[in-house]
């Protein structure tokens, strides 16, 4: 069994080059990777954090470059608990695209998903989007707002810890027993192998008990 009670899926979206991957890497690995692009084969990063005495596993998903030609698969948004929409404060076009992103989010993400607007690259001195503009946009669209610098590690921890705390509150208010309800009925196929070999599922066809039949015990001692 896993030793965490909550698993949350956080996805990042936003134009290419706004620093999504850098935010993820900074948070999960404490690195600021020079150069560009996601490492081949890396799908999402995992970090276990402790918030309010609870162990929480965060699964942070990156776009895999599909945002380049605006071709993100819908399935990327499915079952996300939180969605971080990122723009570059030193690049007006990345801010101008936000409404397009919001439309896409509206279309494919869960309507209750926690949305956070992040203005990244506060380390740059050629800022084009004043903080206040970002703040207002976020407020208008019912999003949390934060400015970060993946390079300087500014607000990055805070961003993810606040998301975790908010998600935990949501999860708790949903259910008194702290069940991660959202995925209660949906089935992931990850544990296919173990199921197949241990046959521990109740609904199998053959009996899966290793219990010995009561009639099998030898006679005298039994009666």
């Amino acid at each position: 069994m896993e030793d965490y009670k909550f698993l949350f899926k956080i996805v990042l979206v936003g134009n290419a080059g706004v620093g999504k991957t850098c935010l993820v890497r900074r948070f999960t690995q404490g690195l600021f990777p020079p150069g560009q692009g996601a490492t081949i084969g890396v799908d999402f990063m995992i970090k276990t954090v402790e918030v309010e005495g609870e162990k929480i596993k965060l699964q942070i998903w990156d776009t895999a470059g599909q945002e380049r030609f605006r071709s993100i698969t819908q399935s990327y948004y499915r079952s996300a608990h939180a969605l971080i929409l990122v723009y570059d404060i030193s690049c007006q076009p990345t801010f101008d695209c936000l409404p397009d992103w919001l439309r896409e989010i509206q279309e494919y993400a869960n309507s209750k998903v926690l949305k956070i607007l992040v203005g990244n690259k506060t380390d740059r001195d050629d800022r084009e989007i004043p903080t206040q503009i970002g703040e207002e946009f976020a407020k208008q669209h019912d999003m949390y707002f934060l400015e970060t610098s993946a390079k300087e590690a500014e607000n990055v921890e805070r961003l993810f810890y606040e998301i975790a705390a908010e998600l935990i509150d949501q999860a708790r208010s949903k259910d008194g027993t702290n069940v991660n309800k959202t995925t209660a009925d949906a089935i992931g196929l990850g544990n296919f192998g173990t199921k197949a070999t241990q046959n521990s599922c109740c609904s199998g066809f053959s009996s899966n008990t290793s219990q010995t039949n009561c009639e099998n015990g030898n006679s005298r001692s039994n009666t």
Binding site: D43, F69, S75, A196
Partner: protein, 566 residues
Amino acid sequence: MSDDLPDKFDLIVIGTGFPESCVAAAASRIGKTVLHIDPNEYYGGVWASFNLESFCALLEQGGNKELRNASQKWHVAETLKVAEAESDTVAGETNIKTDAAKQNVLDWSRETLLQQSRRFNLDLSPKILYSAGRLVQLLVSSNICRYAEFRAVDHVCTRFQNNIINVPCSRSDVFNTKDLNIVEKRLLMKFLTLCMTYGEDKTDEDALQFRGKTFREYLQEQKVTEKISICVMQAIAMCNDDTSFEEGMARTQQFLNSLGRYGNTPFLFPMYGCGEIPQCFCRLCAVFGGIYCLKRQIDDINIEADTNIASVVLEGKTIKAQHVVSAPGHLPNAFLQRNVGVYGQAELVNSLSRGIFLSATPLGSEELNSGGGGVNLLRLLAGTQEAILIQLSHFSGTCPKGVFLFHITTTAQSDQPAQDLAPFVSQVFNPDDENAPKLLYSAYFTIMGRERTSATPNVDVSTTIFCTSTPYYELDYDKSIISAREIFAKLYADAEFLPRAPDPEEIVIEGEDPRALSENSLPDDLREQLRELENSAENMDIEDTDAAQAGECTQEDAETQNMDAD
């Protein structure tokens, strides 16, 4: 538009349907550079799912190259107000049940349904997965499964004496069903156990005795009642009177092997519809560097005679590729006209007749729809024809709460899908049967496919261009996977098809010492220890046995102990 794109790829894939995405992912996975294009603005082509609005719009415009003969009909009023007015005129009806059913219908109008448009995911090519079937195995072995979630099919049904009954398939189902008496329960269990162990003994008498006979003949020998026979033939083995003994047995075993893995039945349905499946493969392709462009038209493809390299003209820009894989409908006309007959796909033919129906009530009894409606599977027979019916409730993420979505699929007999499906539709949506679901909306269309004759090989070895297959009439994706693998094998003869993608934890990030523990991934107390260790620059080679002595219980240990305790 295409300015950012490199001008050379190992592989260009056109169309994002299931087999194309499969090949794209597999190529990208082994390090090939892949450009994946789709002329549509959505993923999936003829394998896609649509929200209600887009679906209606697609049918309104008469479909496209791969989807034809479209028609649709609203069985509810435009808006709710009008509907209420109508309800006044029918007031005074005596039958309470009919009233209730009407009431449900009246809860919806075209307007209210379209308001919920994005809650719909209407599949053009719906499928059901065997829990131990080819696709599930592929998803698991390739690790693509992490991109999708599934819903266990709640019930496998069959029609028996004009009623829809639950086919008890698992042990608990057999135990709970009221449709079988206890002797029948025993007989069914005994028969299934027999099938389960069948073939373990190669010299089995039955194997010899029934070779060359039909599965039905075998069933008749097994002293089972008619009801059991119908359950087995129609729903478990899903075979016909002339299905051979071996085939029927193999299918029964496939069914039984898929039991007990995830849900109560051997079947799974992808959450949010089957349109998710190709996208999962695309995501893997992208993660391994594949480049994605939707909404791009291919003007032409040329093949350089001496090098056999393809030049794909993409909205004016020429991009070279070692190979091109395309869905049959997406090859540019100019190219096809120069190569008449070579690809055999110039003309698409009717392949599948499809119906999509919405209703406010589910099919079958309360028992089949407990807890707000089941995701159910029903195979229908009419003469020698058969059809697959899939009932979806909101639990599958394909329709809003209170609406039930029905997919019926059969092989196309004509270019009139409504006519092809009529014998099946009348079995389940008979307007004279007051228990039958009352329709809110219905739509018919034909899925087109390549004509298959012995003269048109699946893939042509001499060319750089390969054409994928359109959806087959099959429950699962087996044939589609096989054909995608065939193409992959021609492209990259010795390469492994979709080896397992590593989990993030296994990947060594550039510049990282592969032997080192990452401080970030450790729990607090271990992190502290690590720092201490690093500070004291102590030698790390402590004997393995120390771990055991300390009485430390790792997760593996705990699991072993649990198993022992069981």
